[in-house]
């Protein structure tokens, strides 16, 4: 035990240094919205902070995980830049509407643009990563660089020998914890339902239900590992703090939809959910994987409410025709190529 504590000491020191450095950035990110000064966070009838409702990360759709290098340490857009982005959003909404109503218009083979979700407000951040200060995912450790990222199939370079060539998302298994909340083109709904002793987060895509005990019980045995890990929550003031461990290694990564280099079985996530207004939760997550990244890092963004937004059943695997079609397409191509050679 002693030996083990000593061996993880450097990690703890790095984590503390990182936490101190990140504090100012996070404090800024978690600042209540203007006009919310006298707002009192609601409580459940049993006295816990009430986070319930359906929230989405839609407002930060399109914000890259990693900040473009030319923006340096600039985390927030200026007021003028935000105004420009707001008018872009308005134009986009106008276009969505036009495409929806205009008859006989030329359309592509992809889904129409009104299928995707849009934020109502422009995201204030230039990247989802808020720490380190350059807004970029830390470097990978050498042992992580060789981990295979399922490349999936694309038209130019089909790699569809087996379902195992596809991501766990495409296979309808899971996007992992961060992949299930980071904003993507649709399905960003997070429905929070609380009971005395529990917080549940229902995520539309791949129908995850994270049941988070907030009753102080210890983690499950490390022998029980899973895609979504073993979450334990507690309250710090009005903030729900969730620590998740017991992940399976080498499945999903810390990218959109769980993409990117797969994390290891040493991954630990600390998430913080803080209600900052009647329709906003500030979300942040510290990603600590000492077998994958050179240091812990933090991602943060707001979760907001949209009137009328609701989760639907996402029967992903039940309707995964894409998998059958990709595999049978690849087999057909092989057959055609073999026939050509004869």
């Amino acid at each position: 035990m002693r030996h083990r504590l000593v061996s993880i000491a450097p990690t703890i020191i790095v984590a503390v240094m990182f936490a101190l450095a990140a504090e100012s950035a996070i404090a800024q990110a978690a600042k209540p919205a203007p006009g919310a000064k006298n707002w009192t966070p609601p409580k459940t009838p049993w006295g816990e902070p009430d986070l319930q409702g359906t929230w989405t990360s839609d407002d930060c759709i399109g914000t890259p995980l990693n900040r473009p290098a030319n923006l340096g340490e600039k985390l927030y857009y200026t007021e003028q830049e935000l105004a420009e982005r707001q008018s872009q959003l308005a134009r986009q909404q106008q276009n969505d509407l036009q495409e929806f109503v205009a008859p006989n218009q030329r359309v592509g083979t992809g889904p129409p643009s009104h299928w995707v979700e849009r934020g109502r407000r422009p995201c204030k951040q230039t990247s989802l990563v808020v720490d380190p200060p350059n807004g970029r995912t830390p470097d990978l450790l050498p042992e992580a660089q060789t981990r295979r990222i399922p490349e999936g199939a694309n038209n130019e370079n089909p790699k569809a020998d087996s379902w195992e060539d596809f991501s766990y998302y495409i296979r309808c298994i899971s996007r992992g914890v961060t992949g299930s909340i980071f904003p993507v083109i649709y399905g960003n709904g997070q429905q929070i339902v609380q009971a005395p002793g529990y917080v549940t987060i229902l995520q539309e895509m791949v129908h995850e239900a994270r049941v988070i005990p907030v009753d102080g019980r210890p983690h499950a045995s490390p022998n029980i590992r899973s895609y979504m890990g073993d979450p334990r929550g507690h309250w710090e003031g009005n903030t729900l703090v969730v620590e998740t461990t017991n992940f399976l290694g080498n499945r999903t990564g810390i990218g959109l939809n769980g993409g990117g280099t797969p994390t290891s079985d040493a991954l630990k996530l600390i998430e913080r959910y803080t209600r900052t207004g009647s329709s906003e939760i500030q979300y942040d997550v510290t990603i600590d994987d000492p077998k994958t990244f050179t240091r812990p890092f933090k991602v943060a963004f707001p979760l907001t409410q949209e009137p009328g937004y609701q989760n639907f059943e996402y029967a992903c695997h039940e309707g995964n025709y894409a998998m059958s079609n990709s595999l049978s397409g690849a087999r057909a191509r092989e057959k055609a190529e073999a026939a050509k050679k004869k």
Binding site: T44, P45, W46, Q52, D161, S162, W163, R171, C172, I173, S174, Q191, V193, Q194, A195, P196, G197, Y198, T200, L202, V206, H207, E208, A209, V211, P213, R217, A220, I224, S226, Y227, M228, N311, F312, E313, A315, H317, E318, M323, S324, L327, S328, A330, R331, E334
Partner: protein, 283 residues
């Protein structure tokens, strides 16, 4: 209900019959006055069930049905399993059914379809493919499920296939679209949680024996806490297209009491990919 009370207490005061009656009457009066608004249910049981701050029964917890209804919701004898290699471990145990009256009132054509389903179970049973189980099947599969009850809506998070549903306890919502798990609207009838399930897509079965439903099937469930650790569960099932009359199932749901019991993850997709896509793999 009061009779049960009298019976239980009467035994201890048998030799002092007169005093006994006085004591029992007093006890009943005390029980009734101590619990306003619970006159519809037994004072003995309501004193033991967990309640929300507003007095509603609190179903929050980890629950599971015992028994063999997941094999066949009708009475059934023991049978060998489909795979020789699994031997006794793969066999189907005998069990009492949960269908009231024993038989499902299929129309003749539907009865034939059930037999056909059973014969072709390995290719047709949605459980084998890790598809969502639907309602009511999810409630008595051999897996636990977590109920999370808020001051309004109630979540059922099932371990099998990470399937789940939210019971809307607000204004009744029509099913927007047919789904595997259906659209659940709940209401309270005294201490009973009544859940109306509509918008089922008709792809679900009731068990591993081919008993089936359609997209016209309407299910009304009733959850009543018998005491802190047992839920009396009933579901009435109606579908004029395949049943000649409405019918009912009833069983008991048990609270998982182990100190370290918790909902685990059973993402079964990766256990069925070889089965579903194996023929499309590169040779």
């Amino acid at each position: 209900m009061a009779i049960q009370e009298l019976h239980l207490m009467g035994r201890t005061v048998m030799s002092y019959r007169l005093w006994g009656w006085v004591l029992v009457s007093a006890a009943v009066v005390v029980l009734f006055t101590a619990m306003p608004g619970t006159s519809q249910t037994s004072p003995r049981t309501t004193s033991q069930i967990p309640r929300m701050p507003d007095g509603k029964p609190n179903f929050t917890g980890l629950w599971q049905v015992l028994g063999t209804a997941h094999w066949d919701i009708r009475d059934h004898g023991a049978q060998p399993g489909p795979f020789l290699q699994l031997g006794a471990a793969g066999a189907m145990p005998a069990g009492q059914g949960i269908v009231e009256g024993g038989e499902i009132p299929y129309t003749p054509a539907a009865g034939e379809k059930q037999k056909d389903n059973l014969q072709n179970r390995m290719t047709l049973d949605p459980e084998i493919k890790c598809y969502m189980p639907g309602i009511p099947r999810a409630n008595y599969m051999p897996f636990p499920y977590q109920i999370i009850q808020s001051q309004r809506d109630i979540v059922f998070a099932y371990e099998y296939a990470t399937s789940n549903r939210v019971i809307n306890m607000g204004k009744f919502k029509e099913a927007a679209v047919d789904t595997w798990m259906g659209t659940s609207n709940g209401r309270w009838e005294g201490d009973t949680l009544v859940v109306d399930v509509s918008g089922l897509n008709g792809n679900s079965w009731f068990d591993r024996s081919g008993n089936f439903q359609t997209d016209n099937t309407h299910v009304v469930e009733r959850f009543t806490l018998a005491d802190a650790d047992h839920i009396n569960y009933e579901a009435s099932i109606e579908d004029k297209t395949i049943y000649t009359r409405p019918w009912k199932i009833s069983t008991v749901i048990y609270r998982r009491k182990e100190k370290n019991a918790q909902l685990n993850e059973f993402k079964c997709v990766e256990f069925v990919e070889e089965l579903i896509y194996g023929h499309l793999k590169k040779k």
